[in-house]
């Protein structure tokens, strides 16, 4: 497997971990209080931070192997995962406005990352 393919695989894994991190953030928000003791014992928050951190490490590894401009569009996969998980896990509302908005953002991120 060449470096570019490995790089893309790492980015995809990054997006999965980032999305999982966000799900844990949302779960942590139910018992969220701006109190240092409450925050450091909020296990959903700690897991969320951990998953986000791992996602970051995966992204750095991906950038070592591949071009930023080739990787950038795939970072948007996170938006798709969170959209689906939001509906499946949290019963979020599904609307055309949300779909179009998300797609516009995904396209925007791809353009920003390109040359």
């Amino acid at each position: 497997m060449n470096d570019n393919a490995k790089s893309l695989m790492l980015v995809v894994c990054c997006t999965l971990f980032t999305a999982a991190g966000q799900i844990f953030y949302k779960l942590s928000s139910y018992t969220y209080e701006l109190n240092v003791f409450k925050l450091i014992t909020n296990w959903q928050l700690l897991l969320g931070l951990l998953f986000y951190f791992i996602g970051g490490l995966l992204l750095v590894s991906a950038l070592k192997l591949g071009d930023l401009s080739k990787i950038y569009p795939f970072i948007s996969l996170t938006f798709i995962w969170v959209f689906i998980l939001g509906i499946v896990i949290f019963k979020d509302t599904f609307s055309a406005v949300k779909v179009v908005g998300t797609l516009s953002i995904i396209a925007g991120v791809a353009f920003i990352g390109g040359r």
Partner: protein, 113 residues
């Protein structure tokens, strides 16, 4: 979408963009040796800012739906682009400007949900 969510998202993404800038600086002379790592203040500041940005973002997640609120994190791409245009002398190509426009359009649509 109510205004506290939008305000929290804007503040969170601004702090996150600052964090990204510090992390980038911290990655320049990166060394994994613990003695060097501890002295890498940019890296530490970057990570601290990211944690702060996350904590503020969770306040927004508490109020709204994740599939509507999470896309607002794309604002950080706009802030980072502005930082690179103004301070890092990067070129503002039509493609990048179009990207910023599309993100803004998408974010506006999300705020209408």
């Amino acid at each position: 979408m109510n205004s506290p969510i939008i305000l929290l998202a804007v503040i969170s993404t601004l702090i996150g963009a600052a964090g990204a800038t510090f992390l980038k600086k911290g990655s320049n002379n990166f060394s994994i040796k613990p003695a060097q790592l501890i002295k890498n203040y940019y890296l530490i500041a970057g990570m601290a800012l990211y944690v702060l940005a996350s904590l503020i973002f969770i306040s927004a997640l508490k109020i709204g739906e994740i599939s509507a609120v999470y896309p607002l994190t794309s604002l950080s791409y706009i802030w980072v682009s502005i930082i690179s245009f103004k301070f890092l002398k990067e070129k503002s190509t039509p493609s990048k400007l179009a990207g910023i426009g599309l993100i803004i359009a998408g974010v506006v649509l999300m705020t209408l949900t």
